[in-house]
């Protein structure tokens, strides 16, 4: 088994185990922490697929920003294992149906996939490299990119105008 395969199996087991633990744990904070591990494992998969940009963005956005938000909400509302509300039976049913529908879509999409060929290209393939993204962003899409700075600037000015005290 090559190092890549070892890493792949390790990351896959880690991701699936953490995902199950996230659903199973009673304490919301533990759930969030397990979810962070899931994101890290998935980012590791992205690196294996030579998609470094996606890996970093996944970490920054999900593990960084969104998870911190979740943690803040949970801590502010002081949720813990004791205050976990009784879940409605219908809510559980709805969850099962929604998850099952997603599973059905995945199975339907992968049913006809050709498994004989190579499934993934590890350590090769150029599409996920920052190099290509930069070329596209600063060549074809440079005008929208630059113009969006005006958008952010106006949002910042607005935040200051709205949030500043003394009036």
């Amino acid at each position: 088994m090559s190092a890549t395969q070892v890493l792949f199996w390790f990351l896959s087991v880690l991701a699936i185990f953490s995902a199950i633990m996230m659903v199973a744990s009673k304490n919301p904070i533990h759930s969030v922490l397990w979810l962070i591990i899931v994101f890290f494992a998935i980012s590791g998969h992205y690196v294996l697929l030579n998609a470094q940009f996606l890996a970093i963005v996944n970490l920054i956005v999900y593990a960084g920003a969104i998870m911190v938000l979740f943690l803040f909400v949970i801590m502010l509302m002081n949720l813990n294992a004791d205050t976990e509300p009784q879940k409605n039976k219908w809510l559980k049913m709805a969850g099962v149906i929604a998850g099952g529908a997603l599973l059905l879509v995945f199975v339907a999409a992968l049913k006809n996939a050709d498994l004989k060929n190579q499934l993934v290209q590890t350590n090769s393939g150029e599409i996920g490299l920052i190099n290509n993204l930069g070329l596209s962003l600063f060549h074809d899409y440079v005008v929208p990119f630059e113009v969006s700075s005006v958008l952010f600037l106006s949002a910042m000015v607005g935040a200051v105008v709205i949030a500043k005290k003394n009036d």
């Binding site: 005008v143 113009v147 005006v150 958008l151 600037l153 000015v157 105008v161 709205i162």
Partner: protein, 467 residues
């Protein structure tokens, strides 16, 4: 290109104007100078097409044609007049005068983007640049609960409509054969439309109708226009609304022309609903500001005729909307400039204004007559063009009759103000009006009358190709 770059840069200049000088006058003078400069740069762009100050390879993301540039020029000229009339009121809204001006310049950047986009990506960014500063300006009167409510409502509804816009863009991207955001590529040509395309088109139609506040997507408009500070309402319903319409027309004339059978009837129904709801609800309002908010919805109903007529061979739709935007913007800016100076915004507040301020009452009458579409004012020819567009499409005679009927209703509520000013006795009230303010109002009234007599002065500009 001139306008996009210069308006963004001037927004930054305005942002810093407050940092270096405590004197608020500086911000005002800088803003007026900036608007004048923008107008000149844009006119230079018009007459030297293909040869602007800045040479930038936009990769086909932006195309500058006469229609867009002319609407830019109208928007900048209106803003310049607006600064002359209302800069003082802007400074009184709150302590951040420089920032308010900066946000207005960012809005102008959005205006020049949505009048020249060639790619749905730019449309999206342009509409956002147009809206986000407005959310803030709506809520800028922080002590006023109505202003806070309006800002929150506007923000939430605007966020939803942006989501719908994006979803529509995604569907159109999926439906286009090459996978492209360019508005020339997303059209269907001669092929029958796919369901993806129809969904995308309808979502975009809904999102843009929301941005121009056409019924049934108008529910935010009266509260927002009523709640926000009066000075900013005037900017919102004139310049911004006109720009949103140009975005609407560009998209439907360039991309969706072949798909006209799908959307034309829906558009006609939206037009009828907008005319009906705007005019009927405006009749029952007690406050002039709220009445003007509803009447702006009614005016949108007339502007929507231009979208019905985008398929016409001549440029009638573009000509009509240019004239309508000019007439409507000038009149609203004038009315709101006077309204912002008055303490009492109800109809009674206007009682006896003609005795105390004969000049203000006189120009106000001209503005209201123009909104109502009385001959010899610009509003008459604007409405005339719109109705003639509907007649030229040959299918919507019922809509023309309905529109004339609605215009007749609108005369009632516009004349209520005129009647209050001239035929009712009222108590003395202070309306602060400097000679410069009065002179500017008279100039606006003169422009409205001149446009009402010689509308071709403006319209002929559309047919200038290269100089």
């Amino acid at each position: 290109m001139n306008a996009i770059i210069l308006s963004a840069v001037w927004g930054v200049v305005m942002m810093f104007s407050g940092a270096f000088s405590k004197n608020k006058m500086w911000a005002r003078y800088l803003a007026i100078a900036g608007a004048a400069f923008l107008l000149l740069a844009n006119i230079a762009d018009m007459y030297a097409q293909g040869n602007p100050f800045f040479h930038i390879d936009t990769k086909g993301m932006l195309t500058f044609n006469m229609f867009g540039l002319l609407v830019n020029a109208i928007a900048f000229a209106t803003t310049l007049i607006y600064f002359f009339l209302s800069a003082k009121d802007i400074e009184e809204v709150g302590p951040h005068a420089g920032e308010y001006f900066a946000l207005i310049f960012f809005v102008l950047c959005g205006v020049s983007l949505v009048t020249s986009y060639n790619n749905l990506l730019i449309l999206f960014i342009g509409i956002e640049i147009l809206s986000i500063p407005l959310y803030i300006l709506t809520g800028s009167s922080k002590q006023n609960l109505k202003s806070n409510e309006a800002a929150l409502k506007y923000f939430l509804m605007g966020a939803f409509s942006t989501g719908i816009l994006l979803l529509g863009i995604a569907f159109l991207y999926g439906a286009s054969k090459t996978g492209s955001f360019f508005i020339d590529d997303i059209g269907i040509g001669k092929v029958p439309p796919s369901p993806l395309f129809i969904i995308g088109l309808l979502l975009l139609l809904a999102a843009l109708s929301f941005k121009v506040s056409a019924a049934p997507f108008h529910f935010w408009a009266p509260d927002v226009y009523d709640g926000s500070p009066t000075v900013f309402t005037s900017f919102m319903i004139s310049v911004v609304k006109g720009a949103a319409f140009v975005a609407f027309i560009r998209l439907f004339a360039d991309s969706f022309l072949e798909a006209q059978p799908i959307w034309q009837l829906i558009m006609a129904l939206i037009t009828a609903a907008t005319l009906f709801i705007g005019n009927i609800t405006a009749v029952f309002q007690q406050s002039v500001k709220r009445m003007l908010a509803y009447s702006s919805i009614a005016q949108v109903g007339f502007m929507l005729f231009a979208i019905l007529g985008v398929g016409l061979k001549t440029n009638t739709a573009q000509e009509g909307i240019v004239l309508y935007i000019a007439a409507y913007s000038l009149a609203s800016i004038g009315i709101f400039a006077i309204l912002a100076r008055m303490k009492d915004h109800s109809f009674e507040g206007f009682n006896g204004l003609a005795k105390q301020q004969p000049l203000l009452a006189g120009v106000n009458t001209v503005f209201f007559l123009s909104l109502a579409g009385i001959p010899l004012t610009a509003g008459f020819f604007a409405k005339y063009y719109m109705l003639s567009i509907a007649l030229q499409t040959g299918k919507y005679f019922w809509l023309v009759i309905f529109a004339v009927f609605c215009a007749a209703i609108s005369i009632y509520y516009y004349f209520r103000v005129i009647q209050a000013m001239y035929f009712k006795e009222g108590e003395q009230q202070e309306v602060e009006a400097s000679p410069a303010f009065k002179g500017m109002l008279v100039a606006v009234a003169v422009i409205i009358v001149l446009l009402g007599i010689f509308p071709q002065w403006l319209i002929n500009k559309l047919s200038i190709i290269y100089f």
